[in-house]
């Protein structure tokens, strides 16, 4: 009897949890399909009546939404490539090579994890201003690549790969570059997938730095467009849109990440789990 009670209890809790995590998503969907009058009723109604796609049309007509999506894709792909290019070789060097000042340099790269760029953002802005890089894609990519998190993950991963293979290759006369490229890189795939997943999420969703460094519509990314132009978070600068339009824009902005997440769900879970465990 006790067993049965606790099963029922667990199912109740699970049900409540599912409802709690589903409600905000359902609210986005249903609000975006309602007319303005129906969205602004005091009693929340779950079903749009009538169903209208007017709000989506307004979003795509009034805002360069496709441009924002394109910008977000460019910045995300670019920053992920940059992160991999700078941190894979460094992770390999810290895991496999012997050189003077190794621990010191590794410690320096760990400093970036403790001190993220939010901490010195005014000076970072001025630096990019002096380099004439404000309102460029480059400005949005670089700060994401200074974090040593991926170096740390790659080092931890490569250090566990048995040394027999690369030592044999070394005796056969392979250079370090060949060992890195031919032997280590293919074996590092799980860690690379984790790093790609995290970097994509971080880059696609980052708000504060693009807000500062990319105010121009030519390079504006999706979160900034949603926050500043559609939602008008900074009150008084632009007129806020009705909530139906805002939810339609929010829905359009999360479609791609949610879709990718649902397809690659298994890798997401593994990726997160690898960062938490060895």
């Amino acid at each position: 009897m006790k067993f049965k009670f606790s099963r029922a209890f667990l199912y109740t809790i699970l049900g409540l949890v599912i409802v709690f995590y589903a409600v905000p998503l359902l609210v986005i969907v249903t609000t975006s399909l309602k007319t303005n009058t129906q969205a602004m009723t005091k009693d929340f109604q779950w079903f749009p009546n009538p169903v209208t796609f007017e709000q989506f049309k307004i979003v795509l007509d009034r805002f360069p939404f496709e441009r924002w999506i394109l910008n977000s894709i460019i910045v995300t792909v670019g920053s992920v490539l940059l992160i991999l290019i700078v941190s894979l070789p460094a992770g390999y060097a810290f895991a496999r090579m012997e050189f003077r000042g190794k621990n010191f340099l590794f410690g320096l790269s760990l400093m970036t994890i403790m001190l993220p760029f939010f901490a010195y953002i005014p000076q970072l802005y001025l630096l990019f201003l002096q380099l004439k890089l404000i309102n460029t894609y480059t400005a949005l990519m670089i700060p994401l690549a200074t974090s040593g998190v991926s170096i740390f993950l790659f080092r931890q991963f490569i250090i566990q790969i048995p040394k027999d293979l690369d030592e044999a290759a070394l005796i056969d006369g392979c250079t370090n570059w060949q060992i890195f490229y031919r032997i280590i890189l293919p074996l590092t795939k799980p860690a690379i997938i984790s790093v790609i997943i995290f970097s994509v999420i971080r880059s696609w969703n980052s708000l504060m730095w693009p807000l500062i460094a990319a105010s121009n519509d030519k390079v504006k990314t999706l979160p900034v467009g949603l926050a500043v132009n559609v939602f008008a978070a900074t009150t008084g600068v632009v007129r806020p849109q009705p909530y139906g339009v805002i939810m339609a824009a929010a829905l359009l902005s999360i479609l791609l990440p949610v879709f990718v997440f649902l397809i690659l769900q298994r890798y997401f879970v593994q990726g997160i789990a690898t960062t938490g465990l060895k």
Binding site: V17, Y21, P24, L25, P223
Partner: protein, 292 residues
Amino acid sequence: MRITGVKTQGAFWFLAPYFFLFFIFFLLPALTIIPMSFTRWNILSDPVFVGIENYLRMFEDKWFWKAVFNTFYYTILVTIQLVSLGLLLAILLNQPLKGRVVGRVLIIMPFVISSAAAGVVWKWMYNQNFGIINSYLRQLSLPTMGFLTDVNQAMPSLVFMNAWWSVGFNTIIFLAALQGIPEELYQAAKVDGANGWQIFRHITVPLLRPIILYATVLCAANSFQMFDEAYMMTQGGPVGSTVTLVYKTYNTAFEAFRFGDAAALSVVTMTFILIMTFFQFRFSGRESFESL
């Protein structure tokens, strides 16, 4: 010896790409912000050296202390919430229940949703007149709540939104750790007559200790830099009740164009982070590092 000799030569080129970015875009700005904090500067004219004036004004400003308080208040609340809720959800999802896959997908999904999208939907749900939460409170004849407009409720409301938005990460790392605990341990405890709470207290928690510590450190470090939620949902209001250090730095630099004052705020924020990092290493550093 030959092997290490060969390996030493090429290291420079493996490290050069990263350290090029590191020196120019991390070390340079992180260090030069210190001299900047001794100037008055609106970036249109030249900076004027003013000594420690910015710091004196900052320490006399009650809104600065409010921001310090808010930052710690938020960090502590969010960390406690995300670690404990993450653990509870992981334990729930670790039970052999039908539908737990649906639960898992829904719990992690918000992790891929931007702060901008999460911010707008929660602002809408928290809305005093038309929001879904107040709509149900009204139907239950309860008083409506000014989640984001009440001085005392605004910060807890931002914290609560994170229970939806960012608990997924912790849930997954805890779940992975739980699945790593051998089933025999639980069986043995059950044979010895241990109840659910005793198993949780004496088996689960001690074995998860390193991962709990890791999640706590990570949560605290992330939430100390909170900006997005305040920017999206409250703009620091009402009456400065959700202004955090990073939000204040942003406002001072990019809304008021007082870069000297913003730099002083940055230096204080960095000092806080460094002090916390020091204590973390001093008291739990090795343990939390080994778990990484």
